[in-house]
């Protein structure tokens, strides 16, 4: 994904890089309701979208903004919203609607301390499970967790591409640290970034069935106004798009929704590994915490402690292969996260007892430090000896 040609180095925040990524990826509609620590995404797009013929709308709340995003996407525009904590909770119902009606859209959630309004300016990673299960019913989810400013740009582009390809909501799970920190970054030139546009139907509007999937399980999608007439409903529907009220149709539809993402799991799910080959203890950490973990691995190795890191880039689908591999070679795994233990549940499931899994959890509104990780690694080393 990361293109080669680079522009000159600049200082950008994660939220600003998200704006740049969205513009390059072709986002032309944003609706939102500002909330710390995601506001800079709305601010940036409010400034930039009108200049290139796009639209920015500040809606009355998060529920309405998610609805507006779905409407704009049905009308043919690549659409996005950004929010945080309590706002993410409010968007859940319509995220489910977008999953059911297969409307491509991107939801940026810059995670902050919760529950409820919590600590608005403080970091957390407490929304990993909400990203997966925040809306009710079985549904597919793609959620990406950038750890740097450059990666925020790249994963924003990827989120837009995946939403268009899969016709499903894609979540960018930033955290306050990455969203607000500024760092030196070189962004690729727009013409070097690969884009994916939703596939449109080629057949006649007379015979068109809006929810008849192509071979890749994704139905081609016309825009309202293209001349194809179709109905989008959150009720269980058949290939005509109209509600049918039958369990058998629900079975076909929901299984297909799940399968269109699941069958691409190997392509979508990704993790970065760092010094895991000979690692006795492997840290699993994502987002900003992975930066601390990377520093800890370097520091620990200088002291002779064989630490390694697996950094999930996709929270969902979870990168099973990377965990599976270290579960076979490491003496123990430590899952470091700014919550009371969410990602650890996936790691335990995949490790399945082959390596003991320990948690390292902070919820005091501070980023986990490299020292925290080294201390925990020493404790765990004594424990598994």
């Amino acid at each position: 994904m990361a293109a080669k040609t680079k522009c000159k180095a600049q200082l950008l925040s994660g939220n600003e890089a998200c704006v740049q990524g969205a513009l390059v990826a072709g986002i032309r509609f944003f609706a939102g309701y500002p909330i710390t620590p995601s506001t800079e995404v709305a601010e940036g797009l409010a400034e930039e979208l009108p200049k290139i013929g796009g639209r920015f709308i500040q809606m009355e709340d998060e529920i309405a903004s998610m609805g507006a995003v779905i409407g704009a996407s049905l009308a043919g525009l690549k659409s996005m919203t950004a929010t945080s904590g309590p706002g993410f909770s409010l968007k859940q119902e319509n995220i489910g609607f977008a999953a059911m009606t297969e409307v491509p859209c991107v939801v940026v959630n810059v995670q902050r301390y919760g529950p409820s309004t919590g600590l608005p300016t403080s970091p957390a990673q407490g929304d990993i499970m909400q990203a997966r299960w925040g809306t009710h019913g079985d549904h597919p989810v793609v959620a990406l967790m950038p750890a740097s400013v450059r990666e925020t740009f790249d994963l924003t582009v990827e989120a837009v591409n995946l939403a268009e390809e899969l016709r499903t909501p894609v979540i960018i799970l930033l955290d306050e640290v990455v969203g607000h920190m500024r760092e030196r970054v070189e962004l690729p030139a727009a013409e070097d970034v690969e884009l994916f546009n939703r596939v449109k139907p080629t057949e006649s509007p007379d015979t068109f069935l809006p929810y008849k999937p192509a071979a890749n399980l994704v139905p081609p999608m016309p825009a309202y106004g293209d001349g194809y007439r179709f109905h989008a409903t959150g009720l269980v529907h058949d290939e005509t798009g109209f509600p049918c009220g039958k369990g058998a149709d629900g079975n076909t539809l929901v299984r297909r929704l799940q399968a269109k993402v699941e069958q691409r799991q190997p392509k979508i799910a990704r993790a970065e590994t760092f010094q895991t080959e000979d690692a006795e203890i492997v840290i699993v950490a994502a987002g900003s915490v992975a930066r601390s973990a990377r520093a800890a691995v370097k520091e620990a190795r200088a002291q002779g402690i064989k630490l390694g890191l697996v950094r999930p880039i996709t929270a969902w689908p979870f990168p099973e292969e990377a965990i599976d591999s270290v579960a076979q070679t490491a003496k123990a795994l430590i899952v470091a996260e700014m919550n009371l233990g969410q990602m650890i549940l996936e790691v335990e499931r995949i490790a399945a007892g082959r390596a003991p899994v320990f948690g390292l959890n902070r919820i005091d509104a501070e980023l986990i430090t490299p020292e925290d990780i080294i201390v925990r690694a020493q404790e765990v080393t004594n424990n598994v000896r």
Partner: protein, 184 residues
Amino acid sequence: MKKLELRLSGFGGQGLITAGIILAEAAILDGKNAVQSQSYGPEARGGASKAEVIISSEEIDYPKVGQADLCLAMSQQACDKYAGNTQPNGVLVLDSGYVKNPPEFSGKMYSVPITEIATSEVGRNIVANIVALGVIAGVTNVVTRESLETAVLDRVPPHTKDLNKKALAAGYESAKNLLQREGE
């Protein structure tokens, strides 16, 4: 220089986050890596404010500052809170107009009437942050003067360029005097 960690602290409205951004941009102009982060309360003005900058010729992983190599304190509250978390052989720069009770410190401590210089010598207290940058860069050479001046002028509104240029020069001048006195 492998890695330098700086903490700029004071109260909201003093332009410390802007100062942090400018410092990081100057470091990038120097060809270094830089990370800037901040913490602030929900208030727009008056609350405690802190910007952190890490400058390194290598990759920067952990983005927060631990024991700073340099700490700027532009309020007594900030000084009380952060000065202690500075390397024992580090540098402390205090705005003497606000910090009336400087701490015991084993490293180098410079008390400079930063806001007073901005008000009386430069003409507006709003550029105290830029005076502070001049002092910091003057005593540490953390970034080159050329890059810092470029970074300042890139960030400030066009009609304030002369004012900010003057503020930066006043900061450097004050640093020069401090170093001279130190040498005597």
